[in-house]
């Protein structure tokens, strides 16, 4: 495997597989924290004790942070895809490799814009 081969494969794989996969994972964790927080706050409110308040605040804060992580990973995937495309457009060796592997990239779904994960919804408290 040539250096250019490794480089381009890593860039596209990161943009289309790894980063969207990570975004999906962080988003899923955020959604789980969001729905769990909703349930816990609703149930603990029926004790009439104020502990539901800070539990809701921390849960919501974590979801806000995981929304940011998801959005940043989504944007990074799109930007990295563009970095790879620009590399192919400006580097002769990269262009030659791309021409040769066009079908392979299409089959791997590495063409077009990477899919974005839906950022987790904030808990309804």
């Amino acid at each position: 495997m040539t250096t250019i081969d490794v480089k381009i494969r890593r860039l596209y794989a990161a943009a289309h597989d790894h980063l969207p996969g990570q975004a999906e994972e962080f988003s899923g964790i955020g959604s789980d924290i969001s729905t769990s927080t909703e349930t816990i706050v609703a149930q603990l409110r029926s004790t009439t004790h104020p502990i539901a308040g800070p539990i809701g605040t921390l849960g919501e804060e974590l979801v806000v942070r995981l929304r940011t992580v998801t959005k940043t990973l989504n944007e990074s995937a799109v930007a990295l895809d563009k970095v790879a495309d620009d590399f192919v457009a400006t580097d002769d060796d990269a262009a030659a490799w791309f021409a040769q592997h066009r079908k392979e990239l299409k089959d791997a779904d590495y063409t077009g814009t990477p899919e974005s994960a839906r950022p987790p919804a904030l808990p309804e408290l």
């Binding site: 603990l44 800070p54 940043t72 944007e75 563009k82």
Partner: protein, 393 residues
């Protein structure tokens, strides 16, 4: 109504039914004593009341029939008082009939249906299955965050300052592939460097959220076990007293009462030691999702048990009823104290080999200090330490 609320309400309704029966017995005896008193009086015109010996049946689950009653101060023969002589149909006109007096008391008391829906809603209302599921999910989320941002699992890389950082293998490998002509590498690695640190903090915070939530749910469960113990003690005490009435064919004497009352059962869980006992069972932060349902569904009481301050020596159904309610009220206020402890106390149990340490041997877990949950949340809410840099390509 949840299944616990239904179970508890049914139990309390049963207790109230027996307490009512006990009270009816007590008031019936008073009515019979009043009749006995009048037996000795004469009317204004000097005519003596006429009376005949009678037998009465005390109604209820622990029914009994008797012709005499022995109270703590006197022995009485049960009688029907008659006045007015013979009616046209040949019957006597009774001014007071012993059985009617006994039945009237029971009738009046049974007008209250004994329903107990309003008892301890703060303890009976939360859905513990829903809480348990949500806490398991939080614990899993914490473990997932730990895995996603932990160097040991995902390989390590180097950030823009050349420092070694935790980052996924693909990110570390990407560094070599990044085209020299493209910008963005630096801010991308800065983001991942910060994510490794902040992500580990997110994991810790999620675990603290899971521990606090499961401990809160565990506190509710502890007081539910306590409520059932209290209600069962009241049930046993009331039925014990009624059985003794049945055997004595009359009142239970004060000296007998204390042996019939399950005093231990009226004890209420102390809030602070319950919170600490549950925190001692709380899982530590780690790669594996802990099992908060163990904390939530535990049937063994973890705190100290104490009689409510207003508990009285019992000698009657009223006092038994008051003690029952005092324990239920105290359980509600102690549960609030336990939740207060969870939210605002800086005390946590010290653990040794996965168990609560008790170096001073006082039977209670040794304690250490951590920022109270409420203060911890304030510190993390919109904290700059949790900010992540934008990635600019």
């Amino acid at each position: 109504m949840g299944s616990f609320a239904k179970e508890f309400t049914e139990l309390c309704t049963k207790v109230n039914g027996y307490l009512q029966e006990l009270r009816a017995n007590e008031e019936a005896v008073e009515a019979l004593v009043r009749i006995d008193d009048r037996k000795k009086t004469v009317a204004k015109d000097g005519t003596e009341y006429d009376w005949t010996p009678a037998t009465v049946t005390f109604p209820g689950t622990y029914s009994f029939t008797t012709s005499s009653i022995s109270t703590s101060s006197r022995w009485i023969e049960i009688v029907d008082l008659a006045w007015g002589g013979v009616e046209a149909d040949g019957s006597w006109t009774f001014e007071s009939h012993a059985q009617d007096a006994v039945d009237a008391v029971a009738d009046v008391l049974s007008m209250h249906d004994g329903g107990c829906d309003y008892m301890c809603p703060n303890i009976t209302a939360p859905d513990l299955d829903a809480l348990s599921g949500a806490c398991v999910s939080l614990s899993q989320a914490s473990a997932d965050l730990y895995r996603l941002t932990d160097a040991g699992n995902d390989g390590s890389g180097v950030d823009s300052d050349g420092d070694s950082i935790a980052m996924p293998t693909f990110v570390a490998r990407l560094q070599d592939a990044w085209p020299a002509t493209s910008l963005g590498s630096e801010s991308f690695y800065k983001f991942y460097g910060r994510l490794a640190l902040a992500g580990s903090d997110y994991s810790t915070a999620t675990q603290r959220l899971a521990v606090t939530s499961s401990s809160a749910a565990g506190i509710v469960q502890q007081y539910r076990v306590n409520l059932l113990d209290i209600a069962n003690a009241a049930l046993e005490s009331a039925t014990g007293a009624l059985k003794t009435w049945q055997e004595n064919k009359g009142p239970v004497f004060v000296s007998e009462y204390s042996a019939l009352i399950d005093k231990e059962g009226f004890k209420v869980l102390d809030g602070a030691s319950t919170a600490l006992g549950l925190l001692a069972k709380a899982p530590v932060v780690g790669t594996v999702a802990a099992a908060p349902q163990k904390v939530i569904k535990g049937a063994k009481l973890v705190g100290r048990l104490e009689l409510p301050a207003v508990y009285e020596q019992v000698a009657s159904s009223d006092e038994l009823h008051r003690n029952f309610h005092a324990s239920l009220d105290d359980a509600e206020s102690q549960m609030k104290k336990a939740l207060d402890h969870l939210m605002t106390s800086d005390e946590i149990p010290v653990m040794a080999d996965g168990k609560p340490a008790d170096a001073d041997g006082d039977g209670q877990p040794d304690t250490a200090y951590q920022p109270p949950f409420e203060a911890y949340v304030k510190d993390k809410d919109q904290s700059a330490a949790w900010d992540l840099p934008d990635v600019e390509f």
